[in-house]
């Protein structure tokens, strides 16, 4: 039940409890209770919209930054990760396997703004050994949604 609720919400968080109850063949109270429980347990951590900013006139750039860092005794990567994710410019931070340690996504209005944030804020952090900044030029797909896709029913008339 919980897993089904999560799958449905991950796909569309605006769906009503009433609709979900019908889909899952249960009652509204059960759905409401399940969702509240999942929120309380920190399993559902938020609800956001997926926006294709490239279709607006808003200035917005996004960069993926590879960071090599020195882990701290007793705290591993957690402490340095926290130092980084507290900045509002940072929208995601991941601990990575492979060629670098932290994958950081930074958003800003211009490339310069993002580049300077990396140079002046992230790079000087004591544990940070090196940075490599990659700017996102175009989003094709995000959160399993294709950004270029047009919703159009192309099924033709047929007798069946």
């Amino acid at each position: 039940m919980e897993e089904k609720v999560l799958h449905i919400l991950e796909n569309n968080c605006r769906i009503s409890f009433e609709q979900m109850a019908v889909m899952l063949d249960t009652d509204v109270e059960t759905v409401r209770h399940t969702v509240e429980k999942l929120e309380k347990e920190g399993i559902i951590v938020g609800y956001k919209s997926l926006i294709n900013w490239e279709r607006t006139t808003a200035e917005k750039v996004k960069a993926i930054i590879e960071l090599k860092v020195t882990p701290q005794r007793g705290k591993g990567f957690d402490a340095v990760a926290e130092k980084i994710y507290k900045y509002p410019q940072v929208t995601s931070v991941y601990l990575m396997s492979g060629g670098f340690d932290l994958g950081v996504i930074v958003e800003g209005k211009t490339m310069k703004e993002v580049a300077l944030f990396v140079a002046e804020v992230l790079a000087p952090i004591e544990e940070v050994i090196s940075t490599a900044t990659h700017f996102v030029l175009k989003t094709f797909k995000d959160h399993a949604i294709e950004f270029m896709r047009e919703e159009k029913d192309t099924r033709q008339v047929i007798s069946l």
Binding site: I8, N12, I15, Q19, V22, M23, L24, D25, D153, R155, V157, I158, S159, L160
Partner: protein, 389 residues
């Protein structure tokens, strides 16, 4: 010269399908929503499409064997084994066809002699009776009823059996009703058939799309495999309608004759589609699971929606249609559908398109996004509400 006078009487006398008419109107209507289409809204899973593309890149642009690619027939047999526990031999008991529809036509043509009777439970998919007539046979409808959940009962079957009965069509899971037949119910049908020489065409094209319990094939019952030809395909299961690929499995004596017709009429099924189908059978189980779950959600929303309008709607357990009754409105199916379309711009199909016994019902497909389904249900509810006023 009057070409109309030159035509085959048998063909001319066959009425056109009752489904098309509505779509032609819908297509020209602005802002119309449809619950009419009987094909998946999902696009074929990418790994399957990719395999088709790859085969083209490799230059696999030739005919295949008349029977279909051996590799595909082997996969079909493996599927029959793991899904139904049925053993078929890829060399002579499997034929790859152009959709399930071709398999139906071939099986009927290979079995029916002029005057032979073919039993067809109705309401059902539109092709069985025309195919029977084209083969010189006599279609004999068996009416199934809402109070029996549109299942074929042994009593109804027995009443229609005569010395001329050649074949029983078993169209379950059913289009348009969504009815299924459980193993116990099939046992009773099999018990009737075992006393006869009647063959069975089991159209299992929706066999993977059942929601309460797994589909049982009548061929799995004691002694039934040799008299049963199973028709299946990739269209509904893997959202591959446009690839036009299906298959038939059954006794080698029957399959040999079916393949003979196929060989003269079709040669071989589309090669690209056959390569894609191999990928579907090998790696498509998760795709089926994902689509089935989504269909199940929509199914419940549809049934709930119609019941809230005050329309009787028996719970469909298979395929992707609901078949609510509109008898409480006092209208016949066709009038209801036409005036719904005019008033609220929603297209559903009158039950009568699937046989006279569909009178008083409409077919609504849930091959649409939840958003479209909700929109359509709201409009139908508004229409039904308006009738009461």
């Amino acid at each position: 010269m009057n070409v109309a006078e030159q035509l085959s009487k048998t063909v001319v006398e066959i009425p056109p399908s009752g489904i098309r008419k509505f779509f032609d109107i819908v297509n020209e209507m602005d802002g119309a929503v449809s619950l009419g289409v009987g094909e998946p809204d999902f696009v074929t899973p990418w790994h399957i499409r990719e395999e088709g593309i790859y085969s083209l890149k490799q230059g696999q642009t030739y005919y295949t064997s008349n029977w279909g690619l051996l590799e595909l027939r082997e996969e079909i047999c493996a599927y029959m084994q793991r899904r139904n526990g049925l053993t078929y031999h890829p060399e002579n008991e499997v034929l790859v066809t152009v959709g399930g529809s071709e398999g139906i036509d071939l099986a009927i043509r290979a079995l029916v002699n002029p005057g032979d009777e073919v039993l067809i439970p109705e309401p059902c998919f539109v092709c069985y009776a025309p195919c029977t007539k084209l083969a010189g046979g006599v279609p004999v409808p068996i009416v199934t009823k809402a109070e029996d959940k549109f299942k074929l009962t042994p009593e109804a079957l027995e009443k229609k059996i005569t010395s001329k009965t050649k074949l029983l069509i078993l169209p379950y899971p059913n289009n348009p009703t969504g009815a299924i037949m459980t193993k116990e119910e099939l046992e009773k049908i099999a018990a009737v058939l075992r006393k006869t020489n009647i063959m069975v065409l089991s159209d299992e094209i929706y066999g993977e799309l059942t929601y309460a319990q797994e589909h049982t094939s009548i061929a799995t019952l004691e002694g039934m495999q040799e008299r049963t030809v199973i028709i299946n395909g990739f269209s509904k299961t893997y959202a591959m309608t446009g690839w036009r690929l299906g298959y038939a499995v059954g006794h080698k004596d029957l399959l040999r004759q079916m393949t003979k017709i196929h060989q003269y009429a079709i040669m071989s099924s589309p090669t690209t589609s056959q390569y894609a189908a191999i990928a579907a059978l090998r790696n498509g189980d998760e795709d089926i699971e994902r689509m089935r779950e989504e269909y199940n959600y929509r199914r419940r929303v549809m049934v709930d929606g119609f019941r809230k309008m005050g329309l009787d709607c028996f719970e469909p357990e298979g395929a992707f249609y609901v078949f609510p009754s509109i008898q409480s409105t006092g209208m016949d199916s066709e009038t209801f559908c036409e005036s719904l379309l005019k008033a609220q711009k929603v297209a559903v199909i009158p039950g009568t398109a699937f046989g006279e016994s569909g009178e008083g019902f409409i077919r609504a497909s849930y091959c649409y996004s939840l958003k479209s389904i909700n929109e359509a249900l709201e409009r139908i509810a508004a229409y039904v509400e308006g009738l009461k006023a």
